[in-house]
């Protein structure tokens, strides 16, 4: 299947983090590469989304939404840097 990029899961990530995080910087736990989430590789299906590191293709995150819950696996991200909210909250 054709991949997209992290822009495509801005909505799903926003549901988790409470705001848009496409500019957040994620570090690959596999190769250490830093990328803004908008630029990571995204495989989007009706079942969920898999985010992969563009250089090494390791899985960074898996997002699955069912009728009753959201399941998130972030083990492929060793860190995530988000800007402090503008309103201080």
């Amino acid at each position: 299947m054709t991949h997209l990029d992290g822009n495509a899961c801005a909505g799903a990530l926003s549901d988790l983090f409470g705001d848009d995080v496409t500019l957040a910087l994620g570090r690959c736990a596999g190769c250490g590469h830093d990328a803004v989430l908008a630029e990571v590789v995204a495989y989007v299906t009706a079942m969920g989304t898999v985010l992969r590191c563009a250089p090494c293709q390791a899985v960074l995150a898996v997002l699955v939404t069912t009728a009753s819950e959201r399941v998130v696996d972030l083990t492929g991200l060793s860190s995530l840097r988000l800007a402090a909210p503008a309103d201080g909250g």
Binding site: M1, A10, D20, E39
Partner: protein, 244 residues
Amino acid sequence: MTLRRTAWHRATVVSVAAETATARRIELEVPTWPGNDAGSHVDIRLTAPDGYQATRSYSVASSGPGTRLVLAVDEVADGEVSPFLVRVLAVGDPVEVHGPLGRFFVWTPSADPDPAPVQLVAGGSGVVPLYAMAAAHERSDDGSEFRLLYSVRTPDDVFFRRELAALRRTRVDLVHTRSAPEGDRRPPRRLVREELDRLTLGPALAPRIFVCGSTPFVETVSRWLLEAGHAPAAVRTERFGGSA
């Protein structure tokens, strides 16, 4: 730069109109909408009577303050959501909107008296967020040079034809891939590297570049831009396609 916070909103369809033979312009009234960041997108969620839900992302064509949200949706053959939006959705219908989304791909006016020029590169319906940027620039005091290179299948597939023609502060170059308008000396064919180099601002001008289109289009164009010498951080990309 403060961007608008993301949330779910209830919206009502206030107008629908054919955009092209396969696409439709949909205007929504969103009473709680915080306004439009140029280049952003929204998730649209539809709920069937049995509770089944489907969510898809669409770029926002409108820009600036207000509670009106304009989308231009291209119908994807065999799709689940886009045929409904293009053929069935009617004025007065409710939809749920999640946004604005995608801060990475947003253009905001610069306070810099001598701002970097901006190059927009669109493939097909990827023109929607780039049109929003050009329209926002048109209304702003931002003095940066704006150019749009728009690759489109045929003259009948051009989105925002009238609006693009009316832009006074953006130079628009169209390249046709399947059939060209009468009198066009360029034969219809895919955008080639030499044209990209010739029809876009060069690396010496250090433009900010926004590229939006299908994944193959974006990857080809961004590779050519980087090989031409543009800085990776200056090139922002957004891919669409896949689920429909």
